[in-house]
Symmetry: C2
Subunit: 369 residues, 2 copies
Amino acid sequence: MFTLIKKDKTTKARVGKIKTSHGEIDTPNFAPVGTVGAVKTLASSEVKQAGAQFILSNAYHLHLRPGADIIKQAGGLHKFMNWPGPILTDSGGYQVFSLAPLRKIKPDGVEFQSHIDGSRHFFTPEYVVEFQMILGSDIMMVLDECVHYPAAKDYTEGSLKLTIDWAKRSKKFYEQRTINNEQQLYGIVQGGTYPDLRKQAVEQLLDIGFDGYAIGGLSVGEPRDLMYEMINTTVPLLPEDKTRYLMGIGMPQDIFEAIENGIDIFDCVVPTRNGRNGTAFTFEGKIVIRNAAYSKDFRPVDAHCDCFCCKNYTRAYLRHLFSIDEILALRLLSLHNIHFYAKLMGNIREAISKGKFLEIKKEVCSCYC
Amino acid sequence: MFTLIKKDKTTKARVGKIKTSHGEIDTPNFAPVGTVGAVKTLASSEVKQAGAQFILSNAYHLHLRPGADIIKQAGGLHKFMNWPGPILTDSGGYQVFSLAPLRKIKPDGVEFQSHIDGSRHFFTPEYVVEFQMILGSDIMMVLDECVHYPAAKDYTEGSLKLTIDWAKRSKKFYEQRTINNEQQLYGIVQGGTYPDLRKQAVEQLLDIGFDGYAIGGLSVGEPRDLMYEMINTTVPLLPEDKTRYLMGIGMPQDIFEAIENGIDIFDCVVPTRNGRNGTAFTFEGKIVIRNAAYSKDFRPVDAHCDCFCCKNYTRAYLRHLFSIDEILALRLLSLHNIHFYAKLMGNIREAISKGKFLEIKKEVCSCYC
């Protein structure tokens, strides 16, 4: 459950803590993405050592592979993947709705075909909560429809009606099944890029009541200004005593903007995907390690970084590994980037605690904005 | 330099030690392959922790990428790849001669085109030693022509003449350049599948004099019996006080056969390539982890193994990782297999020391032969 620890004086940034049955998450914080039960290229212990306090996994992907049966027999996702900390699982709404035309929305749920083998599946709000209970997720998300940009207002309005109806059913099912609220259930604010629909979504979700509130349906194609506008109009409507989660975001500059407006947690593939593509994040900006400029650069990626990659390898070696398509390179930069994000979030928490949020924002954003 | 420690009473198996400027190699021993300056998927420290005492790298590949200039500036291959132990480097003869028709043998050396970009290169015996000196290899191999199977006797004879001539030139160049013999130079016995040519090769190499002797040109397409015959007829001709190295081999059963006949060191891609393909070695035989039989098998790959993979993950999880094409799986099984080979070689050394070589051979080979 969420505890607010400190509020910034000049912005809406805040420091807090989420308690889960697998440990605490200091907020603001960022979850590396382990979609199918593994943070790509990395062992769980490495993700932990790099400083990540929690990870995100995905119900849609895990439902398809390995499926409920195997994870149940393994004793849940934590044991299966040997990750001891908190796990947040997305419901898979985003993935299912991205499958169009391979999915069909019905009042009761959504029918879809697997992107892997074309097999048919049916997700109801109830099943999605049940499946996340089997996973043993610490923070579960309700099934929602994630509307992509641009979407007409009448479509978005109809979609929101469905999402709210599903949220009610999810909560009802959760209440019937939960044991001591050990797993938390978060609602998802949709409403596209329409401020009045976002407001309506918040009001209706608050009526239902959740352990935390996520803002979904952003970074789906809309201009950055519009994304910021939606965050800025939605967050103030959310209660102070619950977690605020901005889904699927993002880049350091977006994270700063969101934290300034009161967001607590994030998830995104940015650190790992960039790592696999040969881009390293540092406090002096991004480094594209494949660049020929690094072929004889025998410094670490970041001289101030104490991650496994920076303690053991040079830019020249990493560039060589990328040039020979060596998997070790993908691992090392993924690890470095997760470490960077963990360090960044820790620095932000410290800055907010000391009343220096805008200073760190200015400093880091000068390299990223 | 090689020190013979103990000889088995009933076979030609022996225990020894190779001293290098980067540490000792207990023999019999096996080098995982890091062709282009990385043992595929793994960090150097992991290879070390898995129990490998030395690794093999390749002059041909490293000459092309990253090239002499970068490795020289990095301070040698050990520093470049952050591997503290001994490095054995193959001359690249095998690779260059596999390039046919992209290579042309001339008396002075071999002209070839890069398999990567078609660029033209010329390897002389002298350059290959010089390049390995730049790498800082602890054990360097002379440039040779590796004849594939089948090869006519007259071709093999002519090729051997060239290989011996190049061996002489390599030694001469080495003597002009070596500093305190810090880097050792090994000769390579060729001669195809002709016992008399193998004998002639040994005699001529002994006349030149090397720090160790490798048997090359085996496991290149010939039947297993013929390979064993060549080992059995060649090794007895080699001096007792020098290392005997069987190049590019191999499977556990081949290793036992070779050790029984007096071989000291091996290198092969078997543990890493098999690991990446989803096959794990155990003391109860091979396990093809992709097999559906393991989908709900929550035991480690090998319950008696204390490698990182077996201590942290189950067969079911590994199978899941392979089914989603997750890189972590390739790493974990590569690591496990390197650990298995290191453990196997340690067990063999112990067995020879205790006069129990044939017992361990029977035991392990019952699962592999």
